[in-house]
Amino acid sequence: MNKIAKLFITFISAITLTLATISSSFAKVEDGMIVLGSAISLTGKYSSNGVHTQNGYNLAVDRINSMGGVKVGGKSYKFEIIYYDDESNPKRAAQLAERLIKQDGVHYMLGPYSSGLTKAIAPVTEKYKIPMVEANGASRSLFTKGYKYLFAVLSPANQYLEVAIDLAVEKNGGKPVKIAQAFEQDAFSQDVRLGILDAAKRTGSKIIIDDKLPKELNDMAATLAKVKATKPDVLVVSGHTKGALTAIRQISEMKVDVPMLAMTHCDAAKLSKQHGKKSEYALCASQWHKNLSYKDKFFGSGKKYDKDFKKEFGYAPPYQSAESSAALLVFKDAFERANSFDRDKVRDALKATEMQTFYGNIKFGPGGQNVAKPMILFQVRCKGDTCENKVVAPTKWASDKFFHPIPPWSERG
C-alpha cells in the first residue's frame, strides 16, 4: 500500500471516529424515544436464555409503546432498545456496556443474561452512573457490593431453595432433617448453597453430604453413591441445566431412592420433556409461574402473559422472559414518577419503586435486590407420558398438593 492510500484511510477513520463521538450526545432521549441499551447473549453458551431475555424485553417494549408509551413532563415517549451481542463472554459484555454508554450515549441500561455477565457490566454502569434494571443476575454478590445504580427484579440466588428445606422440615413433623447437597462451583450455585446453609442452621438440620461439583464435570455418580449409602431426607442439586439433566439421568439409572429431591433450572433444562417420567416428583425453584395471581394493567395476569407470549414467539415463556418483561415495567414506572430524564432522579425513583406486575411485587432492598417477591416451588407431575410443572409452594398459589415422599424406584413404573 502506498503512502497516500494509508493517509487517506487514516483520515477517513479519524472522521468516522469524530462523527461517532458527536452523534453520541443526541442519543439518550430523542424524537420522543427513550433509548435503552443492553448487551445480550445472542450467540455462545447462554444464547438460548439470551434470546428468552431479549424476547421478554421486546414484548414489553411493544406493549408499553402501543399502550401510550411513557409519559414524562406531559409528553409521551416510546421505548427503544439498542442490543449488542456479548457472545456470552463477560469481557465482551463489559466492553459493549462501555460502547453503549460512551458511543451510543445510552443513559439507561437493561441487564444481560446470567449473574456472571451482570457482574461484568455492573462496575461499568456504576462508574458512569447509569441506572441499570436487570432481570437475570441473581447472584447474592451483586447485592453486597454497595452498587447504587443496579436494580434487580428477581429474587437473589440464596432464596432459591430455602423454601424447600422448610418444606422438608414441615413434612418431617417439624423436626430437623438430614440434607445431602451437590452444587456446581460457580457463583450462582454457590449462592444457592449459602441459602441452604442458612436454612439448615435455622431449622437445626444437618448437612451430611456437601459436594461441590467442578464445572467441567458431567458425572455425579460418586455423589449419588454417597447419597444411597447415607439415606438423607432431602437431596438438593444446583448446577444449571447440565446439573439438572445429569442428576435426573443418574438418579434414575442408579435407582437412588430419596424422599425429596429439590433443584434449580428444571424448566430451562426442559426436564419434563427430556427425561419424561424419570423426572417426576422433582421439586424445582422458579422465579415465576403463569398461575400466580399477580396483576398489572399492561399484561393483565400471568396466564394472559403466557398466552400473548406464545402468540408472538411460538413457545411458552420461561421465567427468564417474564422477569425481563417486568424490568421494562419498572423502568416505565420510574420514569413517570421521576417525571424527568435526569439520571439521578430516575435512580431515586427506581430506588423508591413499590409496585405490582404480572411477574410479582417489586420493591428494591438496600443492595438493589427485589425483596417483595417470594420464590416459588413447583413439582414435576406426570399423567401417562405427559409431565407438567405444578406449583406446590408457597401455599397461597399452590395448584396441587406437594407429593411426599417420592415413592421408591422399585414401585415406579
Partner: protein, 297 residues
C-alpha cells in the same frame, strides 16, 4: 464424611466399577488422539469437539425416532468423512510444521466447531434416552446403568477391531510405517498423504463412537468438548504413543483414580487431583530420563 468409602465396602465396589466403565470410554478417545499424535505429530485440541459432534449425530437420530445406540455405527461413518475433510482443508497445511502451529490450527477448528454446533443444535444441554435400564448387584447396593456397561463393551469391541485392522490390513501397515518414519515410508512407496488423511479420519470416527456413547450415558452441550480433550491428552501422556493396551490401562486407571479422589479428597478436588497426578508423572518421567542420561555419559 471424607472416609465414608472405607466404612461402606460396597461403595468401594461401586466406585471401582464406575471408574473402570468410564475409563474405558475415555481410553477410546485417547487412543484416537495417540494414533494421530504418533503418526502425524499433531496434538488435536479439537478432539473433544469431534466427540461432541459425534454425540449430536446420535442425538439427531434419537430425535428422528431412531434408537440412539445405532449412533455407534452411523456416527463413526459420518465422522470419518468429517475428519477426512478436515485433513484436506486444514490439517494437511500444518502437518509438517512445528507443534505450536498445529495446536493453534486445531484450537481454531475447536472454536469453529463449537460455534457451528451451537448454531445448528442450540445452546441447550441435551440427552438421548437409551431406556436400557439398570443392573443391580449385591442386593441393590451397587447399581450400574446398563448404558454404561453397553458403552464400555462397544468401546472395547471397537478397540479390538482397530488393533486387528492395524496389524493385518494394508492401510494399517502403511499407517504404522508412516508413524515409524514418514520419509522412509514415502521412499518405499507409501502414499503418506493418503495415510495422514485416513489417520485423521479414523481418529474422528473413534471420537464419533465415543460421542454417541456419551449421548446416552452423560450429557451433550456444544461447549463441553474441552474436558474430553484434556482427559485424553492426560491418558496419552501417561501411556505413551502407539500402545493400545497401555492407553486402555491408563484410561481405566485414571477413571479409578478420579472416583477414589472424589470419595477421599472431596468432589471439588476430583479434577484437580487428576492434574496433580499429571504433574507428578511428568516430573517422575523427567527424573527417570535424566538418570538415564547420566548413566550414558
Amino acid at each position: 464424611m471424607d472416609f465414608l468409602i472405607f466404612k461402606a465396602p460396597m461403595l468401594m465396589v461401586q466406585a471401582s466399577l464406575d471408574g473402570i466403565l468410564l475409563g474405558i470410554l475415555f481410553a477410546l478417545i485417547a487412543y484416537g488422539m495417540a494414533l494421530q499424535w504418533g503418526v502425524m505429530n499433531i496434538i488435536n485440541i479439537a478432539q473433544g469437539d469431534l466427540v461432541i459432534l459425534g454425540g449430536y449425530i446420535a442425538y439427531t437420530m434419537y430425535l428422528a425416532g431412531i434408537h440412539p445406540a445405532w449412533g455407534v455405527i452411523v456416527s463413526p461413518i459420518l465422522m470419518y468423512f468429517v475428519g477426512w475433510g478436515l485433513y484436506k482443508l486444514v490439517i494437511n497445511k500444518v502437518v509438517d510444521r512445528d507443534l505450536f502451529i498445529s495446536i493453534l490450527a486445531t484450537f481454531g477448528i475447536a472454536i469453529v466447531f463449537q460455534q457451528l454446533m451451537n448454531f445448528i443444535f442450540g445452546a441447550d444441554v441435551v440427552v438421548a434416552q437409551s431406556e436400557y435400564g439398570t443392573t443391580m448387584l449385591f442386593d441393590n447396593s451397587v447399581t450400574l446403568p446398563n448404558s454404561k456397561i453397553f458403552s464400555a463393551f462397544v468401546s472395547l469391541a471397537y478397540a479390538v477391531a482397530l488393533v486387528i485392522y492395524m496389524k493385518k490390513s494394508k492401510l494399517g501397515r502403511a499407517i504404522r510405517a508412516t508413524a515409524q518414519n514418514a520419509r522412509a515410508a514415502k521412499i518405499l512407496g507409501v502414499d503418506t498423504e493418503k495415510v495422514y488423511a485416513a489417520t485423521f479420519g479414523i481418529n474422528a470416527a473413534l471420537c464419533g463412537i465415543a460421542g454417541a456413547l456419551i449421548s446416552i450415558t452423560l450429557t451433550l452441550h456444544p461447549y463441553v468438548g474441552l474436558p474430553y480433550t484434556v482427559r485424553s491428552f492426560m491418558i496419552v501422556i501417561v501411556a505413551g504413543l502407539g500402545n493400545l493396551p497401555a492407553v486402555a490401562i491408563s484410561g481405566m486407571g485414571l477413571g479409578l483414580f478420579e472416583e477414589f479422589a472424589d470419595y477421599i479428597l472431596g468432589t471439588e478436588f476430583r479434577i484437580g487431583a487428576v492434574f496433580m497426578l499429571l504433574v507428578f508423572i511428568l516430573v517422575y518421567r523427567r527424573f527417570k530420563l535424566s538418570k538415564k542420561r547420566e548413566y550414558l555419559k
